[in-house]
Amino acid sequence: MEEYLTDQLKTQEYFLNMGPQHPATHGVLRLLLKLDGEIIRNVDMDLGYIHRSIEKMCERDTYKQIIHLTDRLDYLSSHINNEAVCLLVEKALNIEVTDRIKVIRTMMDELTRISSHVLWWGVMGMDIGALTTFMYGFREREMINDIFEETCGARLTMNYNVIGGLRYDLHENFVKRVKDFIKHFKKKLPEYDKLLSNNVIFRKRLEGIGYISKEDAVAYGLNGPTARGSGVSCDIRKIHPYSAYDRVDFEEITFPEGDSYARYKVRIQEMHQSLSILEQLVDKIPEGEYKVKTKAVIKLPEGDYLQRVESARGDFGVYVKSDGQKFPYRVKFRSPGFANLTALNKMSEGLKIADLVAILSTIDIVVPDIDR
């Protein structure tokens, strides 16, 4: 009977071009879906719609000039990307920065992480269909952006880190603003749970969807919150602590379920952790220099250098091969989003279009980061 049915009821597979202009692809990502009805058989991707070849551009820039290019990679964690390059150069030249610099960098990192996660939360709701969350997310993000703008001079492409320290000292309002933000966000974060996390429709949309096992997550090179949703412990802040992360107390959030909802929970919990880091540091910003004296022309000794940081999306890495010149010989930006995206096909097999949108949301891609 079943054979008869499958013989008679033939369905035709077809292709659907999702993107480059599509609301769910968060920019200009093109997905080629092979569909059977609404069920996804295969996801193929086409990237490069905003490829700027930043790696090649870095080969003609000095180390100081590279930093501002990293703003344009993952624009939602630009501060963390800046820091990666600065840390790499400081490590290579054995520049020891002051405690003040370390603490400020850590605080900025965490503010960046919160602002990125808050934006992700808003957009996540929007992808699932709850349009209101977007504005609620932006309310918090706006406060952080104001903090950034006042201290760093820009809201998104902060470019605040320089080799050997920071561009400016903290603005006098910084501490007050951060304290205000902590107070505000502590009140609003439970609302996120009430509005979205516990919502029965939302949970049904995410639970059990986009499963990826721990082994697969490692094999596909997943990182950041996406991998931690599968129970992989991969927080660079814990594994290879940098800046002031070795002196603050925070937990690495992992959930073993491996589905979209686990990834969602990881990010929500990470916001709580970031908030606690901020609380620990805000009253203890040490006095000191905000910038260490460096040479005017920075040349890295010949060799290979690698610096990894935990950006909002995961394991961001900078690899530099230097030949002793003032320009790097080869720079590689290891993009967390690119690695996460490679597992998309695996995650979305046999699911529906609506699920693909949810998965894309939970792996939290930023297309400039993928295209580089």
């Binding site: 769910a24 269909g129 709850a130 349009l131 209101t132 429709i201 049904k204 529906k352 279009i353 609506a354």
Partner: protein, 350 residues
């Protein structure tokens, strides 16, 4: 006292011309009036939606054009009118062009049944509620055809989703209405309202009526393709769904019809559960046209709940949509009808 302005007009016309001519003039007059109501309703509701959405989302909404931004939607409509009508090359052009008219025609037909007050009801047929359900199920065709004829895969998926969704939720809407007609004992809309003079049906039918109301609200949201049931045009998945390929006025037809449909669903809820144009406790029932005020207030109340849903909830997935209907709403509905019948039979109504 005026009984019904439409009968008045009919009689006035008969005084001046012969029967046939009077009839045709009356038809044209009323049709024009209802087209006007359709447009005004649509535009007002779009404005209301945007304004309400603004407040939900910590914004202000349109507030620049006219007082409270009231003319914003008119400006938008003018813009849409002036826009080019585009289409896909290989679209089935006949169906593609006619599809929007299915939607507005049915919306208009359903609108003619709505009693705005005691005096304003164009078409009071004795199978009113039944007519309303059957007419509104034709409207689906317009959406379905749009999805099919556009020759766009996103539209097609949207159209197919409509088919599934409408067939399923039509049931729940119908059953919820049946539950209430068991209580009311009539299908004629004016009579249903008349019965409620000594108490609204949601009060009279207490438990089963409240359950029926909840089901009606859920299914009604689905009927009007609104979040959380807006899979048909789910913008994060399908771009715009069935009307991806429509532009200019053709798009505006769908857009307005969607809001008018919401108005119709809300009106039906008000008629069946909250006594239509009746004032609470009969305080203003003797004043002519006071019903219009109460009807509007009640309908806006129900519409606000629809909007509240829309700006709070995430969207369902297609299989969850069907699960909700066939596994939850339908069985509950079945039991509810029996319960209602028992209550009416045993005389337990309040």
């Amino acid at each position: 006292m005026i009984l019904n302005i439409f009968t008045d007009i009919h009689n006035k016309l008969l005084e001046h011309m012969s029967g046939g001519a009077a009839h045709i003039t009356e038809l044209i007059l009323i049709a024009a009036a209802y087209l006007g109501i359709f447009a005004i309703l649509g535009l007002l509701l779009v404005w209301l939606e945007r304004r309400v959405a603004g407040f939900f989302q910590l914004r202000l909404g349109p507030n620049r054009v006219g007082p409270f931004g009231l003319f914003q939607t008119i400006a938008d409509a003018l813009k849409l009118v002036s826009k080019e009508l585009t289409g896909t090359v290989k679209a089935d052009s006949m169906l593609y062009r006619t599809a929007p008219y299915f939607v507005i025609t049915t919306a208009l037909m359903a609108l003619s049944l709505i009693p705005f007050s005691h005096e304003i009801q164009a078409f009071d047929i004795n199978i009113g509620v039944f007519f309303l359900i059957s007419v509104s199920s034709v409207g689906v065709l317009g959406i379905f055809l749009a999805g099919w004829a556009s020759n766009n895969k996103y539209s097609l998926i949207g159209g197919m989703r409509t088919g599934i969704q409408m067939i399923s939720y039509e049931l729940s809407v119908g059953m919820a209405i049946v539950t209430m007609t068991v209580l009311a004992g009539t299908l004629q809309i004016s009579e249903i309202i008349e019965i409620q003079k000594d108490g609204w049906l949601i009060w009279k039918g207490h438990i089963p009526a409240i359950i029926a109301f909840m089901i009606f609200m859920i299914a009604g949201t689905a009927e009007s393709n609104r979040t959380p049931f807006d899979l048909v045009e789910a913008e994060s998945e399908l771009g715009a769904g069935f009307h991806t390929e429509y532009s200019g006025m053709n798009f505006a037809y769908y857009f307005l019809a969607e809001f008018v449909n919401m108005f119709i669903i809300a009106s039906v809820a008000v008629i069946l559960f909250f006594g239509g144009w009746l004032s609470p406790f009969g305080i203003t029932d003797t004043i002519p046209f006071a019903g219009l005020f109460w009807f509007t207030v009640k309908v806006i109340g129900v519409i606000f709940i629809f909007m509240w849903f829309r700006w709070t909830f995430p969207r369902f997935r297609i299989d969850q949509l069907l699960t909700l209907e066939w596994k939850y709403l339908l069985p509950v509905n079945m039991v509810n009808i029996v319960l209602m019948a028992l209550i009416v039979w045993l005389g337990l109504t309040l």
